[in-house]
Amino acid sequence: MKNRFIQRYSKALIVFLFSVLSTLAYGQEISGDAANGKTLFNANCASCHKLDKKAIGPALGDVTERRSTEWLVKWIVNNAELRASGDEEAIAIFEEYNGSVMPAFPGLSEQDVMDILVYTVEGQKKAAPEEAGTGAVAGGEPVEPDNTVPLLILGAILAFLVYLLVTVKNTLKRVQGQPTTSLAEDANIITRTALKNPKIVTLLTILIAIVFFQQLYIALMSVGISEKYQPSQPIKFSHELHAGQNQIDCNYCHYGARKGKHSNIPSAGVCMNCHMQVQEGPKYGTEEIAKIYAAVGWDPETYQYIEGYEQKPIKWIRIHNLPDLAYFNHSQHVTAGQIACQTCHGPIQEMEEVYQYSSLTMGWCVNCHRETQVQVKSNDYYTEMHEKLKEKYGEDAQITVEMIGGLECGKCHY
């Protein structure tokens, strides 16, 4: 009895509250937890709504000023019901957005809705100064630690010490009544004595020759190797953001890697799967994303593809260039070999701008083939082969790629 009474009471209370609130609706008398609101907004609303502009649904920044809170709650919890009840406002907005259906959120309590609405107000206020902030940082490259100043200081100290030493030495000599020598004269004498000593000369020659040939060797061996190659791309696409922060699976965009030879660069169409909604990035704002729209012909204002648009493919700069004479198949490594992308491509999820992590030399390939174990146990393809390999290498032998012929020329060169 008591429970029912409380229920009824609370209902009445809410109705009362609402009626009070509705009179004050345009006066912004709502309260709630903006932080909780933000979490809920991001989880439930952000895919279709933005605060400051139209997306699939209308901008919500000033929604509390446009609509009564009571109406908003009804709409948010179950807009279809509201429309069915014949609410003109609801039907009008539904038609304005070409009948895009907004799902019902029966799981949201009234307080949740309040929190969200509070966030729409608070969030909008914060947005402006934040934007100014990002603008200032934008364009700032990650700064490498600058060693010039400490080095200069060290150099100065060293020069001072040398000066001190020479002064002390000359002072001592003057004290002894000997003639003083300048620093240049000292150096001259020492060099001349040294050059007259054949042992020192031989040693020096050998040293210089070693250094020269070692440097030459390093230079020659690096010909054609593009390790650390980091060209700037037509779009400042950040793997750090997409693969790192947003945790998007590599295979979502590079879907070819599992299936075929190429780990394809995704077409702009794939970008659009997300960027139809996500029209603004945290770092470059709309600038970079606009380049995708320019490629596919998408009008973010009308939320439509432009008819008859001449699509322009994005000309990415290829980073990993294997020569034509080497055949490399991604699916062999990714699917059959179960190798993680990072093994060859490095910490891609941390790269703001991608660079070539591995040397891609044949020595590098061969080393890996010598060390990497084959998935003999989990893949039935190898079952029979594995039995024979056990006979050959022992029961517990680790079967490497080399053991199954992975170092043979024709496996990669044909």
């Binding site: 010909v223 054609g224 593009s226 190659y229 060209p231 879907y255 070819g256 299936k259 075929g260 030879k261 190429h262 394809n264 660069i265 995704p266 077409s267 702009a268 169409g269 794939v270 490629a295 596919v296 699509q311 322009k312 493919p313 994005i314 000309k315 990415w316 700069i317 290829r318 260039n321 020569p323 034509d324 004479l325 055949y327 198949n329 699916s331 062999q332 699917t335 059959a336 989990s378 893949n379 039935d380 393809y381 190898y382 079952t383 029979e384 082969m385 024979k388 390999l389 050959k392 199954i404 012929g405 043979e408 020329c409 024709g410 496996k411 060169h413 044909y414």
Partner: protein, 1037 residues
């Protein structure tokens, strides 16, 4: 007639000034060495010393090297929106049909990123699922830059809208006069329907079919005897005894692909068929026959009559008058009668008389329904010579207002018929649907640039109840339209041909089954129960048209009766030379002539490339003083003759002496001597059509030797015989069934300290481990190989094999990874020499000469993938190495081109890149598959295009084995036998080539390796090849 205008470059040239003369004489401003080195004084004054020169040289080399270190920036451009079916790097396969008016095949096309790159056989096809060499090569013709890229009016480039408008008016004006649609045989039921609908607009419309290599006479005889003007279905798989008279059914015959059916009965055993061939030219079919008899082409009729009479005598039936009989014919008749309804007699020729007698023989044998099916018809070669003759007459008398030509190049194939060209001038409006600006296009006012077959929609009904679909596998490359699209447009509708086609299929053909499924399979077999094919009613038969319906029955009995035909046939008297026209495996009737792969495909019999020539018997050549000889560089030369036939002259025809050519006969291939096919084909060979008059063989041809000059051949095999060695192991069926395999398939044993050991066990080196993992082996059955060459083209296409051109081919620098060696038997054998006491030198001398009527064997040879490879041990840089899977790897980027390996290879299968064959249009521009941007689209992206100076050879399609293994790994299941097929194996419709893993004891190749026919090529060398052959067994009675 083109005007001979003179263009001058400037006014100086016109006035012919002295400076101009000087400039012309020294165009490139060359200075002779004398001029700058001869002047000693000046030279001594010069401050440049030898040391300086070396310094500059060293510096520039270093500078160039350094400059090359900078890696170029490579762009990687993805699709804007990836098509759903494309995953970069993974091929898509589409079922479609090939039909060019002559060849028909149901095929699968492999595409990579939207580019068709290879044609494969459609194994699900009910008929013609095995494409021939031409169809396999046809994918290259798509990328021919000399294709028409837009329509033309009066030889000028035009827009489609202009053409539509102008032609619409002219066609309307032509109504009243005859409007004629001239095509080769139309196989497509939907196109037929459309042509009919198009014709309905005109009061006087005719559709004339005409085939370049016509079987009109054959069809007329069939129509008279069997009531319908259509070919019967030949069923070689049911034939115990086959007698062919001038019918090259394994090469190029009536359009029905019979090689697979034929081969199904050629495996040695109790069920092996027996095949006897009577023919004048040495054909592929004659080469495969168990017994081949030479007859003059003009004796074909008499031989058939003789055969008829011998059979009639044995069966106690009525004989025909006359006929030539001899022991050979008698023996053949006996065997045929013994086989009864399981016998089959087939003839070539365009003569109704010959077919009438052939029908009569088959009827005597009672094989209707077993080996010949007159109820299930095929619809190839529907052309009607008489209708064509009538059309030419009408054209000349000015009755034809408009002539539309499709799928036929009449100006070329009627080159000898001057009336056609004259008639064309009198036709008001000429419209030509063509892919090329060819001989006919030059005579026509409106030339409608046509889609390639790979860009078109279409269908075909090759036989009763069997349908196939054609679908585009690439967007049209140029501003072209398909013929059907033009007709629909000109009929004023808005429907496109795809809609027209689907509508026709859904209402008429499919009978409720799904279009998607038919399109996916490429073929659709209509079961008799659901055959509700709403076809256009049969046009009145040939007899009805000529003689009227009432007389038809009577005429049937008289004009085309066997007795009347026999009477005419036996009265043919051979005069001078008989000339038989034939079609080469590579060229057919010449439709795809501008295809370098096909031009370079060696003729299976003569092994000559880039040519046609008059084949002549050695005896006749000796009489006329005609010779073939070899140059010191290994090139073949020959005399030339002027050929007179049908009252016309063909000058400077090269002569090639052909073993097995009947004395008194000549052979000449059609399809060459092009003028408007494109840079590859133009000027290659002579045009046989110029002396051909529809019939395939004529008598009364004369030749006279041209004393001046000689012809240069590009022949890829000069050795005709095996010189008594066991290169092809051969035996007879009787020996195979009853003899001891150790005798007829002798294995080599070597004396070692361990006792006698087989070649497999005798090793100088340690063995590789070939028990773990895969061990690839290939079996080649010499009984099933008929030498057709489809595998060679498939290999070309799969492995980016370069075309080297006639000059290089001439000196044996061909690049074919797979060659088909052809050997003739010789009259001299080791045994005979011993018996007759012939000396060694004489013996080998005579062994070199093939018999006058030799037995022929074909042997496909590619890298044998030796497990003790002689090439591997001599490579100084280890560029060719052995794999654990039994293959011999060739690493191009490691090769430095010493060619030691090729010298040490006992099989001579290694090919050296003497030149840069790709991206070298100046020298190898004819090979457009590697030298222009459009042509290069045909290259297989999974195979390296080799550079100059490296060795290459068959890799056993390692890209396919690797891909097959990977597919199994990705699925996580063991590799299934048959999952990996090499390109040559896929192309071989007789199943002669089988590839697989011999470590898998359930595999087909494992079973074949245990076969008692198995032998290794040059086993005694001890190379232990991974390729093995199956002994050739001839059914010698």
């Amino acid at each position: 007639m083109a005007e001979t205008k003179k263009y001058w470059k400037g006014i100086e040239e016109l006035t012919n000034s002295e400076t101009m003369e000087k400039l012309r004489a020294n165009e490139f401003g060359e200075v002779s060495t004398e001029d700058f080195l001869g002047d000693k004084e000046k030279l001594s004054e010069s401050s440049t010393t030898r040391r300086d020169f070396l310094k500059y040289m060293g510096f520039s080399t270093a500078a160039a090297t350094l400059a090359a270190c900078e890696a170029p920036i490579v762009e990687s451009i993805p699709y804007v929106v990836t098509p759903e079916e494309v995953i970069p790097g993974i091929p898509d396969f589409y079922a479609t049909s090939f039909y060019d008016g002559h060849d028909y095949a149901s095929i699968i096309v492999k595409t990579r990123e939207g580019r068709p790159i290879k044609v494969e056989n459609n194994t699900e096809a009910g008929i013609n699922g095995g494409a021939n060499a031409r169809v396999h090569a046809s994918v290259l013709n798509l990328y021919d830059a000399t294709r028409l890229q837009q329509p033309m009016i009066n030889g000028e480039k035009a827009a489609w809208s202009d053409l539509d408008a102008a032609l619409g008016k002219e066609l309307a004006a032509a109504n009243g006069k005859q409007v004629v649609f001239l095509t080769s045989t139309v196989l497509s039921p939907t196109t037929k329907k459309l042509i009919k609908a198009f014709g309905a607009q005109y009061a006087n419309f005719k559709h004339v079919s005409f085939d370049p290599f016509s079987y009109s006479g054959k069809l007329d005889a069939i129509a008279a005897a069997k009531g319908k003007r259509a070919l019967p279905m030949y069923k070689f798989q049911h034939a115990d005894v086959i007698v062919g008279v001038g019918a090259d059914f394994l090469g190029d015959w009536i359009g029905q692909g019979v090689s697979a059916d034929y081969a199904s009965r050629r495996k040695p055993g109790k069920k092996m068929s027996r095949h006897i061939q009577f023919e004048a030219n040495m054909s592929l079919t004659g080469a495969s026959a168990d017994k081949r008899h030479k007859i003059r082409a003009s004796e074909m009729g008499a031989t058939l009559v003789g055969l008829h009479n011998e059979i009639a005598a044995l069966k106690g039936a009525a004989k025909l008058a006359g006929g030539a009989s001899n022991a050979q014919v008698k023996a053949a008749a006996k065997e045929l009668v013994k086989a009864g309804s399981k016998a089959l007699v087939v003839s070539g020729s365009n003569s109704a008389d010959i077919e009438a007698v052939t029908i009569s023989i088959n009827d005597l044998l009672g094989n209707g329904g077993t080996t010949i099916d007159y109820t299930t018809r095929t619809y190839f070669r529907q052309g009607d010579d008489k209708a064509m003759t009538a059309l030419i007459a009408d054209m000349n008398s000015g009755k034809v207002g408009a002539l539309l030509i499709d799928n036929l190049n009449p100006a070329y194939v009627l080159a000898g018929n001057t009336k056609f060209a004259k008639g064309m001038e009198k036709v008001g409006t000429t419209v030509y649907f063509s892919e090329k600006n060819d001989e006919t296009a030059q005579l026509c006012k409106y030339v409608c640039a046509k889609h390639n077959y790979l860009e078109s929609w279409g269908d075909a009904k090759p036989a009763d109840g069997i349908y196939s679909l054609q679908q585009p596998v690439i967007r049209p490359l140029f501003d072209t339209r398909q013929m059907e699209g033009c007709l629909l447009k000109w009929m004023g509708g808005t429907q496109n041909y795809y809609d027209y086609l689907t509508a026709n299929w859904n209402t008429g053909i499919l009978g409720g089954t799904r279009w998607d499924k038919a399109l996916h399979d490429g073929v659709y077999t209509s079961t008799l129960g659901t055959m509700v094919v709403a076809e256009t009613p049969e046009e009145p038969g040939f007899i009805e048209r000529i003689f009227g319906t009432e007389e038809a029955e009577e005429t049937n009995n008289t004009a085309y009766s066997a007795s009347a035909a026999a009477g005419r046939l036996v009265s043919i008297k051979p005069k001078d030379f008989d000339l038989s026209f034939y079609r080469k495996a590579g060229m057919g009737v010449g439709n795809l002539a501008n295809n370098p792969w096909l031009q370079e495909l060696p003729d299976p019999i003569t092994r000559v490339t880039w040519d046609n020539y008059l084949t002549i018997s050695a005896a006749d050549a000796l009489e006329l003083g005609l010779k073939n000889w070899t140059e010191s560089n290994g090139a073949l030369d020959g005399d030339r003759v002027n050929l007179k036939a049908n009252g016309r002259m063909l000058e400077n025809v090269p002569v090639l002496i052909q073993p097995g050519q009947a004395k008194g006969t000549l052979g000449l291939a059609v399809g060459y001597g092009r003028k408007g096919a494109g840079k590859v084909a133009n000027g290659v060979g002579v045009n046989a059509y110029a002396v051909m008059d529809g019939t395939h063989e004529i008598t009364g041809a004369t030749i006279s030797k041209v004393e001046e000059g000689y012809h240069e051949f590009a022949c890829s095999q000069l050795a005709h015989t095996m010189m008594g060695r066991k290169i092809v192991n051969e035996t007879s069926l009787d020996t195979y069934l009853n003899g001891d395999p150790a005798k007829w398939n002798e294995k080599m044993f070597f004396e070692t300290h361990k006792g006698p050991l087989s070649a497999e066990e005798t090793n100088l080196w340690d063995d590789f481990d070939h028990q773990t993992g895969h061990m690839w082996n290939m079996s080649i059955d010499l009984n099933l190989c008929n030498g057709c060459g489809a595998c060679v083209i498939a290999c070309h296409s799969e492995n980016n094999v370069p075309v080297v051109g006639k000059e290089e081919m001439r000196i044996n620098r061909n690049m074919h990874w797979l060659r088909i060696d052809r050997y003739y038997s010789s009259d001299m054998t080791e045994e005979k020499a011993e018996e007759e006491g012939v000396g060694v030198i004489d013996k080998f001398d005579q062994m070199e000469d093939p018999s006058a009527n030799p037995e022929v064997v074909f042997q496909p040879v590619m890298c044998q993938h030796c497990n003790h490879a002689p090439c591997e041990t001599v490579c100084p840089v280890a560029a060719t190495t052995h794999s654990s899977e039994g293959l011999n790897h060739m690493t191009y980027n490691r090769c430095i081109g010493t060619r030691y390996c090729a010298n040490n290879c006992p099989y001579k299968v290694r090919r050296f890149n003497w030149f840069q064959y790709s991206e070298n249009p100046g020298r190898f521009g004819l090979n457009y598959s590697m030298n222009d941007d459009l042509g290069r689209m045909v290259l297989n992206p999974d195979v390296t295009v080799r550079a100059r100076g490296v060795m290459e050879k068959c890799s056993m399609c390692i890209q396919r084995t690797q891909a097959g293994k990977l597919a199994a790994k990705r699925k996580g299941e063991p590799l299934k036998d048959g999952a990996i097929k090499t390109a040559c194996q896929q192309a071989c419709d007789t199943g002669a080539i089988v590839f697989g893993d011999v470590n898998n004891t359930d595999s087909q190749v494992f079973a074949l390796k245990q076969d008692k026919r198995m032998y290794h090529l040059l086993e005694e060398v001890g190379t232990q090849p991974s390729v093995f052959y199956q002994t050739k067994v001839r059914n010698r009675a």
